[in-house]
């Protein structure tokens, strides 16, 4: 218990003193996860909207694949991306392994199915009638699709929140493709694992606290936009 308390005290000191190592890890984590969720959103919203409007029967197989990928263990995702980016892999020539780019790719691989799947479910609830209403009022196909996205915005924001929560807290995939290299690919989750193994609990707890606080801030921001699902 005393170790936890000591760890907490030291953690607060590190946070308040804006420890350079801590800050570097925090900013890299945020950069990678925000970039990943932006890319996952750019893939997931159009794809989820398209699938949601197609109807369940026509997309049954794709739905099942997406739902399977939504629950993919991060280490498996990391392994797949590792094999693709490794020297012998199809994209080995890009030399991305053990770089933040590889970590972003791995996180996109994890978050895109979540954003796609949850957007699809959200759109499917009312997307058909929204699209028809827009078209019956003279909207072009593009405007009708945009109207569906706009009207499903609360569900889509929920999808983005869930996707972000997944990637910011994820450790397995970034550990495999990033390598946890100090100052280069070390992020909060991989640093927590390392510091805990070294018995350096102060930094581990500090990072854990920062991770929770950041997650709370980002999710609160998105939640406020989403208004808890759109109810007044």
């Amino acid at each position: 218990m005393s170790r936890l308390l000591e760890g907490l005290v030291e953690a607060f000191r590190l946070i308040i003193s804006l420890d350079p190592e801590l800050l570097q890890i925090v900013f890299l984590s945020l950069r990678i996860s925000i970039m990943a969720i932006i890319l996952a959103t750019l893939i997931g919203i159009p794809l989820g909207t398209l699938l949601g409007l197609k109807g369940e029967k026509k997309t049954r197989i794709i739905n099942k694949i997406i739902f399977t990928f939504m629950g993919m263990p991060p280490v498996v995702a990391g392994l797949i991306i590792y094999l693709i980016l490794s020297r012998e892999g199809p994209l080995g020539v890009l030399a991305l392994l053990y770089t933040p780019s590889a970590m972003i790719i791995a996180q996109v691989f994890l978050a895109a199915p979540i954003v796609t799947g949850l957007t699809m479910v959200g759109v499917r609830a009312k997307g058909g009638i929204i699209e028809e209403t827009a078209r019956s009022l003279g909207a072009s196909s593009a405007l009708a699709a945009w109207t569906v996205v706009k009207e499903s915005r609360f569900a889509i924001l929920g999808a983005i929140i869930t996707g972000f929560s997944r990637v910011i807290a994820e450790v397995g995939a970034v550990m495999i493709v990033g390598g946890n290299i100090a100052g280069k690919t070390r992020v909060m989750t991989t640093a927590i694992v390392l510091e805990t193994r070294k018995g350096n609990f102060e930094l581990a707890i500090g990072l854990g606290l920062v991770l929770l606080i950041l997650s709370f801030i980002v999710n609160s921001f998105l939640y406020n936009i989403q208004k808890g699902g759109g109810k007044n």
Partner: protein, 237 residues
């Protein structure tokens, strides 16, 4: 319409021949599942028929593309389950105008005039999904007529409304036909409503247009026995 039919698992609608007159108010009556809404959707080009020919002003409808969109923009359909966008009343009514590229000032003028006509100027900034049933339906109709379509299709526009709201909606519909010359096709379960406001009534039963004619004739001297049974409330279905 010539030989138009729609088939899902089984045939739900067949129209051998149907011609609509400009500026007329049509009432479509018939029991549930008769094919009334399918007919509206085919006219609105939302649902393609399985076979047959639909013509507008004597010209066949283009399969797809800009020509079809241009034609669709001459019509508006108000659904049985009104869906207003999660936006202000003003932006809801302005939707069709924006889709057609109307200027900001013209959109403002038209929407303001319409909101005044339906007595909702005060509610222009209110979120549309917080309106009462009657208010929502008035906004839905205003949204559909803001761009002055040639043809307005209404699917049960007064279902689940109280008598006061029904009266308001009915006077809106007749006013639109009279003042703007809009052709109106209204599906209704309520035969009394069809008799009150339609000039021509169509009785649809089991996917067929059984009879079409002047309202009073349909109600007093129908040619078909099934029509008589339905308008007299004696049809068992």
């Amino acid at each position: 319409m010539n030989g138009v039919y729609k088939k899902y698992d089984k045939e739900v609608l067949r129209v051998d021949r149907l011609e609509l007159l400009k500026g007329c108010i049509y009432g479509i009556i018939g029991p549930s599942g008769a094919g009334k809404s399918t007919l509206l959707r085919i006219i609105n080009l939302l649902t393609p028929p399985t076979g047959g020919e639909v013509k507008y002003h004597g010209r066949p409808v283009a399969a797809n593309g800009q020509e079809r969109l241009a034609l669709q923009r001459k019509m508006a359909l108000v659904f049985q389950q009104t869906l207003l966008f999660k936006d202000s009343v003003f932006n809801n009514v302005a939707f069709g105008l924006k889709a057609r590229g109307y200027s900001k000032s013209e959109t403002e003028d038209r929407v303001s005039t319409l909101l005044e006509q339906i007595g909702m100027t005060e509610l222009r900034n209110r979120r549309a999904d917080t309106l009462s049933g009657g208010e929502a339906q008035r906004v839905a109709i205003a949204r559909a007529v803001a761009f002055e379509p040639e043809l307005l299709l209404l699917d049960e526009p007064t279902a689940n409304l109280d008598p006061g709201n029904i009266e308001q909606i009915e006077s809106m519909i007749t006013g639109l036909a009279r003042e703007k010359g809009i052709t109106i096709i209204m599906v209704t379960h309520n035969v009394f409503q069809a008799r009150r406001i339609a000039e021509q009534v169509m009785f649809v039963h089991q996917g067929r247009i059984v009879e079409i004619g002047a309202t009073e004739k349909i109600f007093t001297e129908p040619e078909k026995e099934s029509t008589r049974q339905f308008v007299e409330g004696r049809m068992v279905y």
